[in-house]
Structures are given as C-alpha cells and as structure tokens.
C-alpha cells in the first residue's frame, strides 16, 4: 500500500472513531429540524460527507460534536435558503404577536399542566416544532430534546449564551401558543377558559 493510501486509511479510521459515534445525536437533531425521516437521512449524510472533506480543518482536541452540529446546522440553513426566499430573516413582529396571543389572565393555570397537551399526538407536536422559525427551533431542540447546556448550544450555533437564553425563552412561548391553539381547536381545552 502506498504512503498516500496509508494516510487516507489513517484519516478514515480516525474519522470513523471520533465522528461517526455522534450519528445518533445528529440524526435526532436532523429529524426534529426536518420532521421527515428521508430528509433527516439526507441531511445527516451530507453533514458527514462535508465533515470528512474538511476533516483536516478540524482542530484536534476541540469538541467534535459541536463541530459536527455546526456543519449540520449550516447545511440545513443552506438547504432551507434554497427553498425559501428570505429564510434567514426572522419576523420578530410575528414573534411579538405570539406573546400577545396568550395572556396569563386568559388561561387557567391547570391548563398549563401537561394534561391539556397530553392528548395531542406526536405529529401535532412535531408539526408545531417544525413551524417555529429555524433559529428558535434549533435552540429548543438542542436544549429540551437533546439536553445540551446553554454554553454547549452557544458553541454549536455560534451565538452568545445570552442569545441562547433569549431564543429559548421565546421559542417555548411560541410553542406553547401553538399547542394551546391546537388543543383548543380539538376541544382539549374548553373555550370559556
């Protein structure tokens, strides 16, 4: 075997040993971002291909999981940009409208307990997550489904910790608003409440 082929084999083995074990976490993230197993498969495959192509750029000893998540997030955003005209721009007025949508005085606190939402199907929940703007969707998935800390999320998404907290705060409120409306439309929450 030539020196070049030997080197390739070494790079491949290193990549397989340190990057491939994170596939489950990446797949879960991709699945929640896309809400479609086929798209999630494509996204994960593309992420690993890109990661392998640029593996020489990865700084050894740093967090490879964060590096892989960054590649996946950027790949997703690029694909999303191709589909939508102005996806990068989050409409903060819409976000504000969500805030105004639901007020404490309108809702009995027992409806905030999960009972009101426990009847919702997983599909309803997935759809509500998918409808969140990508920036907000990313942080809520990483925090509440993947269980990452603010610092880890900040590292993955390349934003300050304060922005993580702020986006997470808004994302949960938006999600609550959507789920509350779903539950209401399906009669799980009585109208007079």
């Amino acid at each position: 075997m030539s020196a070049e082929a030997n080197n390739y084999q070494h790079v491949y083995e290193e990549f397989e040993a340190i990057a491939v074990p994170h596939m489950d976490a990446l797949y879960n993230f991709a699945l929640r971002m896309t809400s479609d197993p086929e798209n999630a498969n494509d996204l994960v495959q593309e992420t690993f291909l890109r990661a392998f192509r640029f593996f020489d750029k990865f700084e050894r000893g740093t967090n490879i999981k964060a590096w892989l998540f960054r590649i996946l997030k950027n790949t997703f955003i690029n694909q999303y940009r191709k589909q939508k005209s102005e996806p990068g721009k989050v409409d903060y007025d819409d976000v504000q409208n969500f805030y105004e949508n639901i007020k404490a005085s309108e809702v009995k606190t027992n409806h905030i307990e999960e009972d009101a939402f426990s009847k919702l199907l997983d599909d309803d929940l997935s759809e509500a997550i998918t409808k969140l703007p990508p920036d907000f969707r990313t942080v809520i998935i990483l925090s509440d489904i993947e269980g990452f800390t603010y610092e880890e999320i900040a590292d993955f998404v390349d934003i300050p910790v304060g922005t993580v907290r702020s986006r997470l705060h808004r994302a949960r409120k938006m999600l609550y608003s959507k789920l509350y409306n779903y539950a209401k439309s399906k009669g799980y929450v009585s109208k007079q409440d």
Binding site: M1, S2, E4, A5, N7, Y8, Q9, Y12, F15, E16, V20, M23, D24, A25, L26, Y27, N28, L31, R32, P37, N41, V44, Q45, F48, L49, F52, R53, A104, V107, T109, I112, E113, E114, F117, D122, L125, I140, S143, D144, I145, E146, G147, T149, Y150, R165, S166, L168, H169, R172, K173, L175, Y176, L179
Partner: protein, 129 residues
Amino acid sequence: MKTKTSENITAFVDNELKNNKQEKELSDKIETDAELKFEYQIQNSMKNLLQKRFAEQKAPEHLRSKVLYSIRTEVPASRSNQSIGIFEQLKQLLNPGKIQFAFGMAIILAALLFFSNLFQLKNKPRILQ
C-alpha cells in the same frame, strides 16, 4: 426590565442561573407575581413536555452503512489505484465522459484514414495501357 426577568425565568427553569441569591429572589417573585408565575409555568411545562415526548432515536442502520460507504468512496485522488478494488477501477474506466472521449477520437482517426486514402487514390499515377 420585565423582559430580562422573564428571560431569567427561562434560565431558572434550566438551572442555568449561576447565582444562588438571584435564584432565591426570582423564586420569591414567581410566587408573588401572577404574570411571572405564568411565565414560569409555560417555560417549565414546555421543557417537560418535550423531554417526555421525544425520546432519543437511534440512526437507522442503513444510514450508518450509507454514510460509511460514501466516506470510503470520497476523495479518490488521495488513494492509490492499488488500494481500490477491481470493481471501482472498472467503474472509473466505464466513466461516461471517458467513453465519449474515446468514441470521438475513434471517429476522428477513421475520418483521417478515409481522407488520406482518398487523397492517395486521387494522386496515384495512371498506368497507360
């Protein structure tokens, strides 16, 4: 000010407030302020709901194989021909671009041969009988 307090509630729910005094103050505020309590309940219920309903799923086995295969066949330039299998060498030989090139060259050569023969025939001295 209220927004900052609301966002601190998110950090409180996630156990991300690094200051015990701040935690205690916020906890007291949540108990006494209906609006803040509502904020707390929203943040807490959404976090619990997602944690409960979305257990981690394993990546499908076919995806794992596909990824490993695509990485193995990636950057072929860095691999010597010795290290790749006969099947892949055959695949490289049967590359559509290469076939078209070879076909084009064959046509050009045939045309050259044809015209050179024609030229020779034309210029051949006639034998007088």
